[in-house]
């Protein structure tokens, strides 16, 4: 499949859009008409050709534009990418994982040639052709983590494992839903999850931590998380909250379809072999309500999910100002008829063919 990369923006004039193909393959996160907080982790195996689960690291029509947006964020605020000194080896692990995966999954876009530690990496969409020495950061324009994640969609957190806990000791975060790497770097699993409500039922978090501590190399896992964003803005950082916070007050019953976006994170978890660290990529997918309701099943289901969302989650996800308007708007697309089980659109089989 050849990907045509969109010319689009995630700021200012917000020209971001999803093609009909991108809509069909959107990772809709609700498998039933009601949302229940759960850890919902499953093996990250390659499934459903055409979907975002087909490859280890999904590359889609937004790739080039997202990388351009990341460049803008980093130019403005270099602290969005940080690595504590003991995490460099994990950075090399990550570089190897992404390069080998992408070269295998997208041979027409990415090529990797290895001769011992002498590597050559070709990234056609971004026009990169670099030769470097694996393990020697001085042969790359950036540290290994920053180098490869400037070429990979999604935020990345590198977690060191020690003392029966995970420590967020490196990362690159430019498309985040409201958390600050600069503030959270160095925190352990419980500390960086401190602000998440309902998770204070510690058993949920203890189970998730135990799962991650025992995560095995070669057996990655994934889960979906979601929130909503006004405008297709990737960089909803706390750093810039005073700049984008006013967006939330701009929603009116007339512009819900264009302004309100469902924001889904495809989170994956990988054990890294050389460093024994874990990498936690957080890939963000956006879809505006106008686009989402072109899939009738999703329109009905999102209406029902939002309508029954507990108040503390409405608050935590920052939906308070426009939740009611969005439910009202979506109700027009919900005739009350039953929805089919599962995430995929009803015509997914046809789409795959």
């Amino acid at each position: 499949m050849t990907i045509v990369f969109n010319e689009e923006t995630f700021r200012d004039d917000f020209t971001f859009r999803n093609s009909p193909v991108a809509i069909k393959r959107f990772p809709f996160p609700f498998h039933e008409d009601r949302y229940m907080y759960s850890v919902n982790i499953e093996p990250h195996v390659k499934t459903a050709p055409g979907s975002v689960y087909e490859h280890a690291f999904d590359v889609d029509e937004h790739y080039v534009a997202e990388m351009r947006d990341r460049e803008l964020v980093l130019a403005e605020d270099p602290l969005r990418c940080q690595s504590l000194p003991h995490m460099e080896l994990a950075g090399w692990d990550l570089l190897e994982l992404i390069m080998t995966s992408k070269a295998e999954d997208y041979p027409d876009l990415f090529e990797l040639y290895r001769d011992g530690d002498s590597w050559r990496w070709i990234n056609r969409p971004l026009g990169i052709d670099d030769s470097f020495t694996f393990g020697d950061a001085s042969t790359l324009p950036y540290g290994p983590m920053e180098y490869i994640t400037r070429q990979t969609q999604g935020d990345f957190a590198l977690l060191d494992q020690r003392d029966g806990n995970l420590w967020m000791d490196a990362g690159i975060v430019t498309t985040q839903a409201d958390w600050s790497l600069d503030f959270d770097i160095g925190m352990n699993f419980f500390e960086w999850h401190g602000p998440v409500p309902l998770a204070h039922d510690m058993r949920v978090f203890e189970r998730a931590l135990k799962f991650l501590l025992n995560l095995q190399h070669g057996k990655p896992a994934r889960r979906l998380n979601w929130t909503m964003t006004i405008n297709p803005r990737l960089d909803t950082s706390p750093e810039n909250y005073h700049k984008w916070g006013t967006d939330r007050a701009t929603v009116t019953p007339e512009n819900v379809g264009n302004l309100v976006h469902l924001r889904v994170e495809l989170q994956t978890f990988w054990r890294l072999p050389r460093s024994n660290a874990i990498v936690f990529p957080i890939r963000c997918y956006l879809i505006k309500m106008d686009e989402l309701v072109t899939v009738p099943k999703w329109a009905k289901r999102l209406h029902r999910v939002l309508k029954t969302l507990p108040p503390e989650l409405i608050d935590y996800k920052g939906l308070s100002r426009y939740h009611g308007m969005t439910v009202e708007w979506l109700s027009r697309y919900d005739d009350g008829s039953p929805t089919s089980p599962g995430f995929f659109p009803d015509d997914w089989q046809d789409f795959q063919r």
Partner: protein, 200 residues
Amino acid sequence: MLVEGIKSRPVYGVLAPQPGLSHIIVAEGEGAEAVLRMAEAAPAGFFAKSHLIFVPRGGDRPDRADGLRALGAADFQSVGSPADAAAAVATLLRDAKMGTQVYVTGTEGLIGLVVQAAETAGIDHASIHTEHRGSMARRVQCVHCKGITENVTTQPVKCSHCGLTLLVRDHYSRRIGAFQGVCIDAEEPGTAPRPEELFK
């Protein structure tokens, strides 16, 4: 974002003498009492292996320093500010050996600075002994401009650098040694509530 009930606050303990080859003890103001209480349980010879650093608070009773001096530490130092205390700890730790224990008691601001200095010297934060005493005033980092506002007692508080009105979250960064401050009226500028004394 402006959610109540965040649980990532630091948890402080109660100082108790630990086994060790040497001890560095930092006390600020009322923290002197925590050290005196710890001294009651200290084995013979404990203070002969100890270095005591005291940061008097304005209006401190003079007998606090005298009480600490009387413990007979191998070295006793009185310094002017929490930052001076952290610098003194950093100097002492430069050539220190494993088996050096660090104790710190006083305000959260002092504890944060000393824990930072000790971590930089190679001590895991979890093995630093802390006890909170005195004012609940906080060090707050503005997430927007990254500036630090010291001795914050109100909620919300005006950032002393960029002037935004900040909600002080219970989210604490050891690396920065500060709580997180986030603009409270970002969605509707000018609607910030009036500050209330909350951290005394």
